[in-house]
Amino acid sequence: MANKLTISLSPHVHGGDSVQKNMYGVCIALLPALIASFCFFGLGAVKVMLASVLSCVIFEWAITKFILKRDRLTILDGSAILTGLLLGFNLPSNLPIWIIILGALFAIGVGKLTFGGLGQNIFNPALAGRVFLLISFPVQMTSWSDNVLDHIDGYSGATPLSLMQKAILEKDASILNDLPSSLEMFLGQTEGSMGEVSALLLLIGCAFMLWRKIITWHIPVSIIATVVVFAGLLHLANPIYANPLQVVFSGGMILGACYMATDYVTSPMSHKGQLIFGVCIGLLTVVIRNWGAYPEGMSFAIIIMNAFTPLINVYCKPKRFGEVIGKEAAK
């Protein structure tokens, strides 16, 4: 009898959380937006998403098995599926399949596994894949197919983001009149990548993640608040800058703030660090959108701040219990 007793240190119970629960939790949160993108963009969207998810999972399996020669199967932890989903959301629905496969190879192979796999990567793998594709295939990555809802409304033309940038370049506020209203953007009647269309459904998913305690509010709220304030000030100063609601609901802002910047591995560990991270992403995004070469700055802003995450972790410690005065002063 005595021989079969397990001896281990406390705690002897566990809360039941797991990597899978968190990864699949994010996937579930993305479902409403996923279904909406299928409705908006039709069969093309389904093809892109399938290609993205399948190739991410296959690359994860093949690289860990044949190159890294690890026995541990990692494709079931859900992280490769999530990377595939997020990558898919960042692509136009009419992108050729071979480009998607290249993007997935970069995301999983270079973005994730070269660093050692889940938990070790510096950059968000899906974003690494997207930025790789954006730089390598700028034309294909920015030719959007028509949004079904858009057609019904009879609106067609450049994306809201490029209109906003054009207004600033030409110093002509009237260009902004061609933008869909904030409400239309919020609901999803606009052009863009698959995950850039419905802010509403993405926010519902985000609320789900907050409720399930998959993420905390710090990163999404600090990003969005910063963008609203910064873009709002610019708009007040000069009407060639779009109004802050249109800025927030356009492009990949919500997708980035709620799903990409909150990636566990590549965001800071302390709440204070997360707030700094979020504020910087917000500022960088507005700067790149308004004055950079690309109309969308979200991905670049997140990737840049990913690189700063280790530094933020060193300098932003959580508030210690009983920390009355600074450590140095106490000595």
Binding site: L5, S10, H12, V13, D17, S267, M269, P318, F321, E323
Partner: protein, 447 residues
């Protein structure tokens, strides 16, 4: 709702024995009294083989100021004074007594009549502390720090209030809960005694909201003592930690070590300790028994037993329906901070608040996966530390980094490991790091 400010988790409560009234355990056939039942110097045996002892006879005298005497909880003959296996898993000095009858030392008041503070007008602070010291009372929540030491604040520190720890935040354990339901008056008098001992005018009793009957009863009974306040607390682990409880009740935070809880002006005592203090001072009864929760999902009769110290755990388990077939792990204490036992043939001690029988399928840890840097451990840590980092630097044996990042502030509550989605053994490594760093600090200050 009051609670502590940073972190915390909410484990499944599993208070299986909450409705089971305290029942007296049978006398053991043989009782074993370890000389290591408290933190500090071990007690020194003062009896030898063949000596006849009664309930309340001194077996071991305190080995220093931070130490406590050990009394016999049974009557009979000393079988041997030798090293035996105790609940820590070590072989240590103990006195073994073969039980015969149940004779008590004279002078111990075994009646259940309530003695109030007003009945003893000539009790002064020093007498109370001396009686507590002589009775061998130690912290009964599990830490087993000698109580009289806590009641003698170091020079320059002044106590402002006494807080009774009736939180019982460990899942499964219900001993304190039952004690409050069955002996509320004694607890209130005990608290008054401690308040008098340290000369303060304010006493609090902190109880978590998952014990509404105890809150109601204690509040009702405390009405006659205006200086005592019952404080209901939100259910959150580790609220029973001394620092967390002070923060929850009086909103003051104990600074990092070497600061002590007394720096906030609060003296915290477990409710079981308070009851023992009442018995020692008012009834002249040394610490010879305690309430222990014997519980587990497969156990047929989860119970709260009033058992004599030195009783083997195996006998307590037999009284609660016997050891279940599917037993996989046996824990002395609660599931969050208790210790896994090597054997059930070890005696219960002053710190034995619970005995938890876990099923085989609950006993094994899940396999650890890579850290995904989700920061949930950082959010859960009630001390505001970074468990992922402390665990990592300890694993890499980078003691400087561990010290720099305040590893010595860790209270080893296990919230980080409880919450980790990757099932990483965070606390195992942190314990290693903390013990090593404390050793380094001691060596440095000894120079």
């Amino acid at each position: 709702m009051k609670t502590f400010s940073i972190g915390g988790v909410h484990p499944e409560e599993n208070k299986l024995s909450a409705g089971s009234p305290i029942r007296e355990a049978q006398l053991p056939k043989q009782a074993v009294f370890s000389m290591f039942q408290h933190i500090g110097a071990p007690a020194n045996p003062v009896v030898k083989k063949g000596d006849v002892v009664k309930v309340g006879t001194l077996l071991g005298e305190a080995g220093g100021f931070v130490s406590a005497p050990i009394y016999s909880s049974v009557s009979g003959k000393v079988n041997k004074v030798d090293v035996v296996l105790d609940a820590s898993g070590l072989r240590r000095m103990a006195v073994v007594v073969d039980v015969e009858g149940d004779e008590w030392e004279e002078g111990i008041d075994r009646t259940t009549d309530l003695v109030k503070l007003a009945d003893c007008p000539d009790l002064d602070s020093k007498t109370i502390v001396d009686k507590i010291k002589t009775a061998g009372i130690v912290g009964m929540g599990g830490a087993t720090f000698p109580t009289h030491v806590k009641l003698c604040p170091p020079p320059g520190k002044v106590a402002e209030c006494v807080i009774v720890n009736a939180v019982e935040c460990e899942p499964y354990l219900t001993a304190d809960h039952r004690l409050m339901l069955e002996h509320p008056d004694e607890i209130l008098v005990g608290l008054q005694l401690v308040m008098k001992a340290v000369n303060v005018k304010k006493g609090y009793i902190g109880i978590e909201r998952n014990k509404p009957d105890a809150i109601e009863l204690m509040t009702e009974k405390a009405k006659q003592y205006p200086e005592i306040e019952v404080v209901p607390l939100k259910v959150k682990y580790p609220q029973g930690g001394e620092k967390q409880l002070i923060d929850a009740v009086i909103k003051r935070q104990v600074p990092a070590p070497p600061a002590l809880p007394i720096d906030t002006g609060a003296i915290v005592q477990n409710v079981g300790t308070i009851f023992a203090i009442y018995q020692a001072v008012m009834k002249n009864k040394p610490l010879i028994d305690r309430i222990i929760t014997v519980t587990g999902k497969s156990l047929s009769k989860p119970s709260n037993l009033l058992a004599r110290l030195g009783t083997p755990f195996s006998q307590l388990i037999d009284e609660c329906g016997g050891l279940p077939e599917d037993t996989g792990k046996i824990i002395g204490g609660g599931p969050m901070m208790g210790k896994a036992l090597l054997s059930i043939d070890v005696p219960m001690t002053k710190g034995s608040s619970g005995l938890l029988i876990m099923k085989e399928d609950e006993a094994k840890r899940a396999e650890a996966e890579p850290c995904i840097r989700c920061a949930k451990c950082v959010g859960a840590c009630p001390m505001g530390l970074e468990p992922y980092l402390l665990s990592k630097v300890s694993e890499l044996r980078d003691w400087d980094a561990a010290e720099q990042d305040d590893i010595t502030s860790c209270i080893e509550c296990g919230s980080c490991q409880f919450t980790c989605p990757s099932h990483r053994p965070l606390l195992d490594y942190i314990r290693l790091g903390k013990a090593t760093v404390m050793g380094i600090i001691r060596a440095r200050s000894a120079k």
